[in-house]
Symmetry: C2
Subunit: 506 residues, 2 copies
């Protein structure tokens, strides 16, 4: 058995995971009415920064990784649909490669390492494709998160033979939406280590530190202890007003503020292992003790998670989950007197009027896997039922949803409600004819500049509910205890309603 | 005064450094006979991974950084040659940017932050260029390290007006070769913190650890303590046979070996601060004590550094430095009986026959600055003397030289001799009619698989010599002492011949 691991006690990913992924794709193609032909994918290529020879650290392209798990750049892969046999095409490297880049693996070594039927050199690719079973199915389609199109490779042979650019994409995306047991085990692992890295950071926080020092502590802990060289995405380490910037941490806003005694922190970080990433957010006070107001905002967001968890099972619409979360956030804001109840309007009316979108302008969560915003949330066509793929919704919050599916077993998602005090959205709401009347301008002013709270877990839908792969401290007493030095994981799970798998199973 | 800093006690880079860089470029253009016109450069743009919305962490394009030091993506910059006045063009961001990415800076804020005369929105770029002084000079030329061409921007206006693609590139590269006092101070700082990060790693090594844990320790130390979010290049953390792979550490050979008791380690890592990077290599035994053989190989490489330092001053040819280093490596290998002296051949003959290239197939070093392999090592044309730019040399080692200049004051370079036992180059040499007779096949066999040693310092050429910005332990007794827990920097500099500036100045 061949496997990916980084030694010591790091996780062992069997390459049979990718064999299964290929089998599932072939099965999916057959269910879509395609019984013969050849699937062709191009792996990621090495890249340099601008015109220089600075080599960017290669990370495999996600579709290719799903099917083949190859770590090196410059490969191609094909699968014969009728037999399921896979062929990898590796670059033929010059002898001098050994001097600069390392031992050159033989085709036989790659065949054993990656558990495929055949390995050839990529200079044989075009001639091999000429004799392979037709049509050749290549991947082409739009990513609904980026709006970018995955473009099929350009090869002479593809102009000469029967080539299909339509059928592969929806089936391949759908395969990635429904994780296998081995993929789920890996997602559970990477979410566990991400949780423990958050706990490490939580214990290291002291007012006076810089935000980026928390990023440094997180990435060190997850790399040193678990072999995670890459983060799933750029770390968001926000304090003070910065949690109100949803994608804080990028080069233009690079986690460079001093953490102050009175700040709430919002830390959104996820490690990646063998190209599968997690995505977990923790929020807590810099000094380890919640004020009354911080507590109420926080509890509102935690209640939003609880409300989602109550309905999280196959058959539930993700839109309903989103609205259930918003409702709890609105309730907390009413309790804080930021929002006022207005005669003639129920809580449900306030939700439908998109008041939640003022304080939580993002969607509730997204599919997660090889990409942080994993594919398939808006997939059109494919094998699944038509009603799973309506058009993008309108209105604050809803329009930002990255998933419109009905929940089904083996989907892996983030649940990440939040409550933020963002001048731009608050000012717009105050000026709005419909929403303005609900907002207490004076009370909300007291919250401006205090940032916000987000709690984000990674869950997987099961046959009759879900499992929560996150095991971060969530209850206020848990957070305060851990920040005060208490053991984690705890001796007793005092919040079984959060369904944290590792804690439930203790 | 505006400046870049990451708070706490991190280094403060005044933006006047970039003002000076622009002034030097304007002066250079005037010396090249250009007294009027407008210089135009495009800043780096944000990028996403493949078709996904995974945002790559933005790092400014190097030429643009040199002139403007802008941290955000999507800018343009221009300089009026006759007045020296600079204009930045920033993207006009949608209001919703504030929700996701953060506060939108005004043009005035950017003007103050980046110390330019004017800031406009980039949607005014083309109309501004229509009224600016002609010709417009854009950057175009080949990078001699990557072989890639820096391509000028494509704009309608550039097709309509007088546009020059020739004159800017050599002058701009030449400016980057000769560092200003502020740039040298920054290079000294980043080399100091890189040295101290290496010392941190050196103290953390224990047999049984994984190579990548040393990478994790280095990047954590330099980010947490000095604000270095990026490494200058992918970390090379090689043990056992791996030091013989010159660019070990990339995704196909990712620092994933267990460190064993008897291993020599080769660690080549450099931190980057405000886009200026260092590049330092340390080599030492995993268990902290050199064996007799390890000592002899190491001393040979250290003597190679000493030999280079003896001649390192304005007027010396870099090729002569390279050969001086090779000579010491050959002497060590003769002492080890890996090489034998053959009647009729002097040591100089052995150097000229390229025997050094068998055991050190790379060049002695390279310019360093905003790029690790900084521009200008092979520049043709430009203001400097013709004899500085001969064609690339032939022969093992020499053909890999990244610099063929005569040394001049204010150049910043690495000095990185090495001695490696690489099967591919050794086998080729044994089979070679000229070189085979020098190699003792049986003795060299005992060294196969033991990797190699590289020592790499960052130096700057001064009016009458050079300064060494590296302050890593280098003497064998220094390395053994630090690995045993001794203080660093030491109380007394026992190797003043290594010219480590910080230690000499103690």
């Amino acid at each position: 058995m061949s496997a990916f691991t980084l030694g010591l006690n790091t996780y062992v990913v069997p390459f049979s995971m990718h064999v299964e992924n290929r089998d599932r794709l072939v099965k999916g193609m057959k269910e879509a009415g395609v019984s013969t032909g050849t699937i062709l994918l191009r792996g990621g290529t090495a890249s340099e920064r601008d015109d220089t020879d600075h080599e960017n650290l290669f990370r495999q392209e996600s579709y290719f990784h799903y099917l083949f798990g190859v770590r090196e750049p410059g490969f191609w892969g094909s699968i014969d649909i009728s037999t399921g046999d896979a062929t990898l095409y590796c670059p033929r490297l010059p002898e001098e490669y050994a001097v600069w880049m390392g031992k050159i693996s033989t085709c036989l070594e790659f065949k054993i390492k990656y558990e495929v039927q055949t390995v050839k050199y990529s200079d044989n690719l075009e001639s091999s494709l000429r004799t392979s079973v037709k049509p050749i199915f290549v991947n082409k389609g739009k990513n609904s998160d980026s709006g970018s199109t995955y473009n099929p490779p350009v090869l002479d042979v593809l102009k000469e033979v029967d080539c299909d650019e339509v059928k592969l994409f929806p089936v391949l995306c759908d395969c990635r939406v429904f994780k296998s047991e081995k993929e789920l085990a890996l997602m559970a692992h990477v979410s566990k280590l991400t949780s423990l890295s958050h706990v490490h950071v939580m214990r290291s926080v002291t007012p006076g530190m810089m935000e980026y020092q928390l990023e440094a502590n997180f990435s060190h802990f997850s790399y040193y202890n678990y072999g995670c060289r890459n983060m799933g995405y750029t770390a968001i380490c926000a304090c003070g007003p910065n949690p109100a910037v949803l994608h804080y941490g990028h080069a233009g806003a690079p986690n460079d503020r001093v953490i102050r005694e009175e700040d709430m922190l919002l830390l959104d970080m996820g490690a990646e292992y063998h190209c599968y990433g997690s995505d977990i957010t923790c929020s807590y006070p810099a000094n380890g003790k919640f004020t009354e107001r911080q507590r109420k905002v926080y509890e509102g967001v935690l209640n939003a998670q609880r409300a989602v968890f109550e309905i999280c099972k196959p058959g539930t619409s993700w839109v309903d989950c989103h609205k259930a979360a918003e409702k709890e956030v609105i309730k907390a804001l009413i309790d804080l007197k930021v929002l006022r109840e207005v005669e003639g309007y129920t809580l449900e009316d306030m939700v439908e009027m998109r008041l939640g979108g003022v304080f939580m302008p993002h969607g509730l969560g997204h599919h997660i896997g090889i990409d942080t915003h994993d594919v398939g949330g808006y997939l059109e066509g494919g094998k699944s039922k038509e009603e799973n793929y309506p058009n993008r919704l309108k209105g604050a919050g809803l329009k930002s949803l990255r998933n419109l599916r009905i929940l089904e077993e083996h989907q892996c998602l983030t649940v990440e409600p939040g409550c933020y005090f963002i001048d731009y959205t608050i000012d717009k709401a105050i000026a709005d004819n419909d929403l303005g009347k609900f907002i207490d301008v004076e009370v909300v002013a007291e919250f401006r500049g205090t940032g916000g709270v987000r709690l984000e877990d990674v869950i997987a839908i099961t046959a009759d509910g879900f499992e929560n792969y996150t095991l971060a401290p969530r209850g206020i007493e848990e957070v305060e205890a851990v920040m005060g030095g208490a053991k984690w994981p705890p001796m007793k799970d005092v919040h079984p309603e959060l369904m944290r798998k590792e804690l439930l199973n203790m």
